[in-house]
């Protein structure tokens, strides 16, 4: 049995609202962080060039202290995160940048969660609609014949 027009419109509204919400969340920029927050985030995602896998926030190496100090300076000077990352990778190599790039294969880190959530919501909507439709099985001519035979005792 097919869904009624009102229910279909209801589902469409739900799906559209969900899609718009996801799009808004994805597209909206983070609220402007304070300078300290930006510096902290940059230090968290900049690896110590002398250590194994430690970021400059965790590392006690002198080079990490120097990079921390410079990140503070550059943030205070008004440089953007991208400018600071470019400067540091220019000085110490790409290996110090621990933030996933927004282009290329590694950009899937950003894209995949959104795609998974969107596909999941669509699948849920589709499953619910089938489930509801399945519960409303209509009577067929055969059913009516059977009932009639039983009532008349033939």
């Amino acid at each position: 049995m097919k869904l009624g027009l009102g229910r279909r419109i209801g589902w469409l509204v739900v799906v559209a609202a969900t899609a718009v919400s996801i799009a808004v969340v994805v597209a909206a920029e983070d609220p402007p962080a304070t300078l300290d927050e930006r510096a902290y985030r940059l230090k968290e995602t900049t690896l110590c060039p002398e250590c194994d896998g430690q970021n400059v926030l965790e590392s006690n190496a002198p080079v990490s202290a120097a990079i921390r100090s410079q990140i503070d300076e550059l943030v205070d000077e008004g440089r953007s995160d991208q400018e600071i990352r470019q400067f540091l990778t220019g000085q110490y190599g790409r290996g110090v940048d621990a933030s996933p790039p927004s282009t290329g294969f590694a950009s899937l880190v950003w894209v995949l969660p959104v795609v998974v959530v969107a596909v999941g919501l669509v699948w849920l909507a589709w499953s619910f609609s089938r489930w509801r439709a399945g519960r409303r099985v209509g009577t067929t001519d055969e059913d009516r014949d059977l009932v009639a035979r039983l009532r008349h005792g033939s």
């Binding site: 002398e50 410079q70 300076e73």
Partner: protein, 181 residues
Amino acid sequence: MKSPVRVVALVVAGALVALLAVLWTREPDTGVSGSSPLIGRLVPEVVGPTLGGGTFDIDDARGRWVLINFFASWCVPCVEEHPELVEFSRRHPDDGLVVSVPFGDTEANARAFFDEYGGDWPVMADPEAALAVDFAVLRPPETFLIAPNGIVVDRFIGQISADFVDDYIAAVLTSAEEGAG
């Protein structure tokens, strides 16, 4: 017959003695050339106050071979290297200059280091580590050789000596002459 435990102990002791002998008699590490995006380019700006109370601008050192040496008072190779820098400075009063920059150290310790080991060249104050990051220094001692025209010639990682630097400069000059000829 000796027990196996005693034989193993003797072998281990022998290996330890051999290792100690190698460490004791080997020559100290000398600087090795390291890669740097600065090599072949104009030296970054090195300008600002010195620990001696004056100011220094590397542009004023044009026409001289400059060694920019990043050091720390806690760094043993830096202590061992320092007399060599003093010697280089003594050999080149007019055509050479050493400039020191504390790295991972306090200004007070750097002053005490120079008070103890000598050296009358500029020691830059680098409290925000701007110079250290501009030169992408990883660990002290590291030294950058700047040609008289202001171009970064090489980066030496580890301890250097006056003879090593003189030989290096001589080789650069010979190579330049051959290239010109």
